[in-house]
Symmetry: C2
Subunit: 376 residues, 2 copies
């Protein structure tokens, strides 16, 4: 019988935490980065490559999957794990964020949100109950409540209205989740924008309802990094230590490091695969733009100490990117996912060793120092 | 010390031949299919996947590589094998075919061909001597002479002029090849279109010059399959048994089977990767168009007996193709290269067992029978 959801804290170092989430599809070491499998695929990567890169868990997008190929179809085909050949853990979002950012015409009401599909123009309704139903059909290990996310900056009244609505949807999500087979988990989502009082009210109310884990939504939506980190620090201080905390849609390597320093356990972001498709590699030396002509004759791999991208030279990666070859996107997506996972692994080890601050300082210093000197 | 080029005939069955080509970068089992690595990458495939699919050799395009990233640059980076992480054999074409099909404004003269690069509009000259030099810079295991290829149908006078010019270029290519380090091989190219007398004259003259192997060019350029196969049969009958024969730019699985039946040992074609990118899989049951809605709910893999594409369902492949996901192109390119290689492996085994005709009949019958019944 598969394990039910459970979080175990292994070590803390300041506010930084290292732990383990047991799920019906395996254990997730935290702090964890979840590659984004938007349309049932981490773009450009074989599932084996995602796993080999070090991921214990990927994210699936409810919005995309419910529209194509359809949640009922995926359920009939054995669920999302089988469909996308990913036997490890899957977290699904609720669809709310994409409805706000991708769908055409949309109407937010107490009952839920109605929107026009960006694929075929059909009108679709997403309620808290339907979001849970869809995630159950997908067979998600960790489901998210439906919430309303507001882009920043925004008037306080808008932030409060969306936060209160999200809380009512949180209660309905929890009730709906009672019908979902045991083992999976449901996370609530703290909203409230950049307003400390709203964030505090949201966190407190969600903890009162009681969830398996808590996400912080509505960040990385236009605000400065300092604002984001201040909200993260204030919110994590209000959340129970025994539950995992997930910062949604974040971020750069530096964002991850700083958010872990403030008590976050889980992340998802399209940045490593999206930037990989656009010719940018994340490395110990900071981002490297392979389009740059200075790489054209460079026989060195991205990181001389790292076999992650399989020994391909910078010259070759530059050529593939310039020639718009699919393999360039594949190799850089893979290299970036590997780097993100190596960074998480480094953080986990540092927290367990009680040396997180040293690791953080050394990482930031190396990023700031920049890339290797040009090849002579 | 790496082995020098050598061809060993292992078995024949009718006109069909099974053999081995030794090269400085490993042995190539024949009949061989060479995946096309146009721009130093077999499109959408990691080199390890190309190898795992069963390829002993890939083709590199001189035209593309000399324009970008440049032959001198690849040489400085250690040659094409190192550049593209393919330690196995490489055959390079001479660039002539792409000059005719891709370049803008071009002028064919006795000395060579001058053309406008499709990348930056620069005027570039390609002579028989430069084509050999470029291929030596790439570090090719098997180089091709520069030739002029004429699309069919064409007036006899045009075919004859191009054939005679190609013969004079063949002699110059052979002389130029004397400067290339030992180990690599040079193939001549039979031209003459669909004219039996011209083909015969071309083949005879090339054999008199003497090459390590003989290619048949100027086919699969618009003529019916029957015409192509008639030319193949007529030409192979004139070529020495002790040298490999290469049918350039061919073809469909059925083309390969019929050309092997007429004495061909080597092939290259973009079809498996190009069609894979466009959602079409080659299988034992003939081509399958994954765009077709009948696959949307089908949990079966492409071929229930084949683990080649990693157990992904037709429903998943259909979804990836419809969603225009890179992974669809990756998986279908891989599946098609695997199928082509399995077909070659089947032919080699059948020839050695003296059962090539049975294999050919059974393969054609299964293709004609078509795909599995739709999933109930």
């Amino acid at each position: 019988m598969p394990a039910a959801f459970q979080f175990r804290l292994i070590a803390t170092d300041g506010a930084a935490r290292c732990g383990e989430i047991a799920t019906p599809h395996g254990v997730v070491a935290t702090p964890a980065f979840m590659p984004v499998g938007t349309q049932a695929t981490v773009k450009g990567m074989l599932p084996q490559a995602v796993r080999a890169g070090g991921a214990d868990i990927v994210l699936g997008n409810t919005y995309h999957l419910m529209l194509r190929p359809g949640a009922e179809r995926i359920a009939a085909l054995g669920g999302l794990h089988t469909f996308m050949n990913w036997p490890h853990a899957i977290l699904t979002d609720s669809g709310g964020f994409q409805v706000m950012s991708l769908a055409g015409l949309r109407k937010v009401e107490e009952r839920g949100v109605t929107f026009r599909s960006h694929l075929d123009g059909a009108m679709v309704e997403l309620t808290p109950e339907r979001a849970i139903e869809v995630q159950a059909l997908l067979g998600s290990d960790i489901a998210m409540q439906l919430d309303e996310c507001v882009a920043l900056p925004a008037p306080r009244a808008d932030l409060e209205r969306a936060m209160r609505l999200s809380l009512r949807w949180a209660e309905r999500s929890k009730r709906a989740f009672e019908a979902v087979p045991a083992g999976a988990a449901l996370f609530g989502i703290v909203q409230g924008g950049d307003d400390a009082a709203l964030r505090s009210a949201s966190a407190q109310a969600l903890v009162d309802i009681g969830f398996d884990g808590y996400a912080i939504g509505g960040l990385a939506v236009g605000e400065p990094q300092a604002t984001m980190l201040a909200v993260v620090a204030a919110v994590t201080a209000l959340l129970p230590a025994a539950r995992p905390r997930y910062l949604m849609g974040v971020g750069t390597p530096e964002d991850l490091l700083e958010a872990v320093a403030r008590g976050i356990d889980m992340f998802d972001c399209v940045l490593p695969t999206r930037n990989g498709r656009h010719g940018v590699a994340f490395t110990r030396f900071g981002p490297i733009n392979l389009k740059n002509a200075r790489h054209a004759d460079d026989p060195r791999p991205l990181d001389p100490d790292d076999a992650g991208e399989g020994g391909h030279s910078r010259a070759y990666l530059h050529h593939l990117v310039k020639a718009n070859e699919m393999l360039g996107a594949v190799l850089l997506s893979q290299a970036n996912i590997c780097y993100y996972q190596a960074l998480m692994q480094g953080m986990r080890a540092a927290i367990q060793a009680g040396q997180f601050d040293d690791f953080r300082r050394a990482s930031v210093e190396q990023w700031r120092k920049g890339d290797l000197a040009p090849h002579a």
